[in-house]
């Protein structure tokens, strides 16, 4: 293509058209903050990891279980708790190793792959925690139903029911609350990471398309 080669000639000769940056200006730039998408992913990821780990510390169910006199359930919850912590530590380790791998000297495709993988780990961590929220809510409800004296009134009502009207209503309501909760989270994530990564994911798709 003739035009492109014309441009190539002009391009290679061109050394004068840029305002040159001085050494001093470069020194100043070195101490400025990066605004790269990876930096933002790192910050947000650490906040997410911290937030969910904190939630696990704060919402300790032990007291609640004692109140309900459901001590026989304790052992199961303890096991669940240990498994939970092992999974959390594994996620944090994975996130760290993924992040370390990100390097601008890799090929463009590899770099994008590494960035998207790091993000995916954190995303999976968040989904895991949401899953745990759902599981423990269901467990909590069942336990409350079996042990808590506060729910006596509802139990009476269910016992009086001809069909299963009341229990169906309760289950529907709880499911609805959880679905709304999950959808809000999902939207939040779409927006947050969509904003940060739209360009990168588009370019990654484009690059993968070339190699098909």
């Amino acid at each position: 293509m003739e035009e492109l080669d014309l441009l190539k000639k002009a391009w290679q000769k061109d050394t004068q058209s840029f305002q040159q940056v001085t050494e001093n200006e470069i020194y100043k730039m070195l101490h400025k903050n990066s605004s790269s998408s990876v930096k933002w992913i790192l910050i947000i990821s650490i906040l997410e990891l911290a937030l969910w780990t904190l939630m696990n510390v704060i919402f300790n169910a032990d007291e609640y279980i004692k109140q309900m006199h459901a001590e026989e359930m304790m052992i199961y919850l303890k096991v669940l708790n240990y498994i939970n912590w092992a999974v959390i530590l594994w996620f944090i380790y994975r996130f760290y190793t993924n992040y370390i791998k990100i390097s601008t000297t890799n090929s463009t495709k590899q770099l994008m792959h590494d960035i998207l993988k790091t993000r995916k780990t954190v995303q999976n961590y968040v989904w895991y925690n949401l899953g745990m929220v759902v599981v423990s809510s269901v467990l909590g409800f069942v336990m409350a139903f079996l042990y808590s004296p506060d729910l006596g009134l509802i139990k009476d009502q269910i016992a009086q029911d001809e069909g299963n009207g009341t229990i169906i209503k309760i289950v529907c309501m709880l499911s609805l609350v959880m679905i709304v909760f999950l959808v809000i989270f999902w939207l939040f994530y779409k927006l947050l990471y969509g904003f940060l990564l739209r360009r990168l994911s588009n370019n990654y798709k484009e690059l993968k398309k070339i190699d098909l």
């Binding site: 290679q12 061109d14 040159q20």
Partner: protein, 164 residues
């Protein structure tokens, strides 16, 4: 007297800054965005510099980091997306040895290149810098054959843009 790492980096970047400028010009539409990207590339280069062992030339290493920054890490401010202003290239084509007609053709060609997407621009950049397909493929992480095929497609696309 031995140079510190920082001194050596700043010196080499200053000497090779046109590499970064050229990438900035290709990926940004105005001088604010140009300076923004230049700064981000400088930071990324500095971050990666300890890993640069001088096996390749500074320029070869630097353009790769700069391209990666432009394509993957840099977040364009929304105002400059898809609005190509041509102020940045005003000086570019004012070179004595070109006649007026050639200058016009160059301008149109450059405008056509500006309309390509990020990945296509990277290929064109390396083509203009006279990199061979082995290096182009390696830099992007695709196969050499596919790099060639893609470059031919880009040429076709440019012809279409120039002759609508």
């Amino acid at each position: 007297m031995s140079e510190t790492l920082e001194q050596s980096f700043v010196k080499q970047l200053k000497e090779n800054q046109n590499i970064v400028h050229k990438i900035c010009r290709l990926y940004t539409a105005d001088s604010d965005a140009h300076n923004d990207l230049f700064q981000e590339i400088t930071i990324q280069l500095w971050k990666a510099f300890p890993k640069f062992r001088g096996e390749s030339k500074f320029s070869t290493w630097a353009y790769r980091v700069a391209l990666n920054t432009a394509i993957t890490l840099y977040r364009k401010s929304t105002r400059s997306v898809n609005t190509v202003t041509y102020e940045a290239q005003q000086h570019f084509f004012v070179q004595d040895e070109y006649n007026h007609e050639e200058e016009e053709r160059l301008k149109l060609m450059y405008q056509a290149v500006q309309q390509l997407n990020d990945i296509e621009k990277a290929l064109v950049y390396m083509y203009l810098e006279d990199k061979d397909y082995t290096e182009i493929a390696e830099t992007l992480g695709i196969s050499e054959v596919n790099a060639r095929v893609k470059m031919n497609r880009i040429k076709g696309k440019l012809i279409k843009i120039l002759n609508p």
